[in-house]
Amino acid sequence: MTRAAGALGGQGKRAQLTVVLLVLVVAAVVGAGSRAAGAFERAVAPELGKRTRLIGVIVRAELQRALEQGMPLDAISGLDRYLSQTLGRFAEVERIVVRAANGSTVASAERNAGPTSHALPAVGSYRLIILDGNRGVGEIQIDVNPAFVRTRLREIVLDVLAVGLVAALVALELALLLTAVSVARPLERVSRLVDAQREGDFRDRVAPGGIGALARVADRLNDHATDLAERLAAIPAALRADISARLQARIAEGRPALLRLADVGDIRIALFAFCVATEVAVAFLPVYARSMARPPWLNADLAAAAPLIAYLLAAAIFTPLAGWLAARVGARRLFLISVLPTMLALAGLAGAEHVFEVTLWRAVMAIFYTTATVASQEYALRAGAAQGSTRPLGAFVAVVYSGVFCGAALGGVVAGRLGAGAALYGGVAIALLAGLVGALMMRGPAGDPGRIPAPVAAATAARRDPRLWVLVFGIAAPMSATTAVFVWYLTPLMLTAAGSGPAEVARVVMLYYLAAVLLGPVASTLSDGRTGPRPLVFAGAGLAALALASLSWWGGFWATVAAMCALGTGHALLRAPLYALAQRVDAGRGTAVGALRLAERLGAIVGLASCAWALPRVGAETGLLVLAMLTLAGLMLGAATLARAHRP
């Protein structure tokens, strides 16, 4: 970045403006969210009450039927057992009491209240008169379980919080776009053009834009170049070469070329929108696939898992090809090419009627998700080549995870309200938006076709370097296997077994992605600074191993939550610096990023397959301990190999 742009629109100032924007938007979302939580509570209370009252009405109807047979209220046999059964079926009921007309208790059933339940004040009680013909012979009292009501309300608050987080992440991307489009990028362009013209280079012009006088100055500088080019063109051809040679300036022949600058930020909104679009189905896809027609030999569980398996396989197969394609056709074109099939795949998913159609379209989406994300990553790497290598990767990881987080949450909300079709067609619209933004923003030279790495020579050189092998198979593969096994597979199983519902499971899984979104940029900054990538890689791998091993010592909901947070933190510290470290080790051969990408995909598949095979035999605890040991072994091997290579 040039001097003025660096000083005025540079990282520091841009970060300040972004922080101010985020503080304001988060304050707005928190303010609106707290009001919404209160409004939700008030609005659902009558419906919760209606259901509890309905239970009372049903119990009363049963009793009245017995009374109609001529049986006195206090002689109905098995009333206590009936009330206990009813209590067992409805979690929101704390106590049911049947009283005679004189107030004496005929029968009652009460939940075995824990200490927390007693500490909570009662939130509702319903009394219904029991009639025998024209006489009131008693009453039923139903007390609402305060813990149940508070659990439901807590879930509502957490749902609002998730929606607020989605809004905040969208705000972050919009804030970054706003600062880039209004100040940083126009100033950078003007500054570059000024420097060129000061040196006598009038061959370029820039796209005018920005706030204040920036656009006018850009127009004027553009006019310098255009005016000189027109005047040179007007000189007779015979004189032109002679004059050009004598000039102390370089002038464009014809119209001055548009100066194209690439920035890591170019990919942000397009990639974010693309990830949101492709991940809208994540929240409901297994249920969606299970509800489809299927052949008799395919059971419901396999039908639910089939799209995920197809997705992972397609992504693994196309990962090496995507890197080559990005170099061959250019990152920009590859990204844009990927948008249309993704839209088709989303529409195909929406219109699917058979589980094979769902699986096929999900596989198609995986192919083009891979090409689009690899294209974005290549763009970011090339755009940020001059800025050090961690920031582009950190930005890439943060954007992908933000998109995954928002897409899953958004898809869940929209599908829950309007159905899966609406969520998927919404995804089509968002994918189209991603394509339009990509076409507008990814115009820098980083999006052009580039040097295609000579695969054989580079791979041979890489094969001889044990450090790259250790990073790929010792660190990257276990990291990816851990994500697939612990985050995607075991956590839902363990939490469901511990009594958590799907919404709670989803919220815990989201913590992993949230850690990556929040801590990824911090890790990038540290990696580019004095800390360097290596300590971050080792610290991240160590924390991940500790998180996995901790589940051998304690279990339950909060243990899983803590392990998820620690694992998310560890991987956030590790992921972008690992790419930076591998690129340094690779020394420009161009194989490190591709190898890491492939290792990540294969690690996930091998991890899931091994887990599915080993889980019934050794159990989840042992499986996680093995993963922890593998991570730790990779860390120690990496430390030893890199230390030996570092020694003179």
């Binding site: 001097r3 003025a4 005025l8 403006l17 969210g33 929606v163 013209q197 000061r198 006018r216 309200r417």
Partner: protein, 261 residues
């Protein structure tokens, strides 16, 4: 100041956009939560209504053969006057008893799809007709469906949208005020910096057209004490403009000479 207000307007607009997204999502979320609660209530009713039918099928009777079915269904319907219909269906989804006449031959396609997806568990779904909640007999050879109107839910959702929109409006007003304070406090130096740059760029423009009109006082007007980066950019702009003029003169000379010749 103009720059400050432009940034403030952009920030406020961004807050409005984000809050619009938030209100839209939160309203949808509320609709889902409310629909779930209604659905759960329907399932409770369906479970209790199914009990005598389940007892009959345990004795080996077909579900269509329960003689007092109409009374059982009517009793359940009377627990909530809003209930549209209750249908008892057999294992193939054919309606065998109902509170409405004429009785529909089969369950609606939405209900059949929800039943298939639930795989024997209680289910509910929001459809164009209304909410439908159902439960199955343990052997999946029949069950009961309750149909409930959506009107109440739609009213609740609209009321929530209005309340959230009003709250969001208030929040926008508050954050607009907070934004003005925060921007002035935190970005004051940066805005001053950029305003100095903006002023310098305007002065560069002004100098250009005044020079074109014959003003020859070459020294650019220095506005206050601009930061070094601003002075630097201005110097570079002047250098670029000077190079342009010099090149332009070089280009003009041969043409003039040729014309004179």
């Amino acid at each position: 100041m103009a720059l400050f207000w432009r940034i403030w307007a952009s920030v406020t607009l961004l807050t409005v956009v984000v809050l619009c997204i938030f209100v839209g999502l939160a309203t949808m979320q509320f609709g889902s939560i409310h629909a779930t609660l209604v659905g759960e209530r329907l399932v409770v009713l369906a479970e209790r209504t199914l009990a005598p039918f389940a007892a009959a099928t345990r004795l080996g009777l077909p579900i269509s053969g329960v003689r007092n079915a109409a009374a059982l269904l009517e009793r359940a319907r009377q627990t909530d006057e809003d209930i549209i219909a209750l249908h008892v269906f057999d294992g193939d989804g054919r309606v065998v008893h109902s509170t409405i006449t004429p009785m529909p031959p089969t369950l609606a396609p939405d209900a059949l799809a929800a039943r298939t997806a639930a795989n024997g568990a209680p289910w509910f779904r929001e459809t164009a007709v209304g909410f439908i909640g159902g439960v199955e007999l343990p052997a999946r050879d029949g069950g009961i469906v309750v149909v409930y109107p959506r009107g109440g839910n739609v009213t609740h959702v609209r009321a929530m949208l209005a309340e959230l929109a009003l709250d969001a409006g208030l929040v926008v007003l508050l954050t607009a005020g907070l934004g003005a304070l925060l921007l002035r406090w935190r970005l004051g130096p940066s805005i001053h910096h950029f305003e100095a740059l903006d002023a310098s760029l305007r002065d560069f423009e002004r100098t250009g057209w005044r020079r074109a009109a014959g003003k020859v006082s070459a020294a650019p007007v220095r506005l206050g004490d601009p930061p070094p980066e601003v002075s630097d950019l201005r110097d570079r702009l002047d250098a670029a403009a000077a190079h342009y003029r010099a090149t332009g003169r070089q280009l003009a000379t041969p043409v003039t000479q040729e014309g004179e010749a």
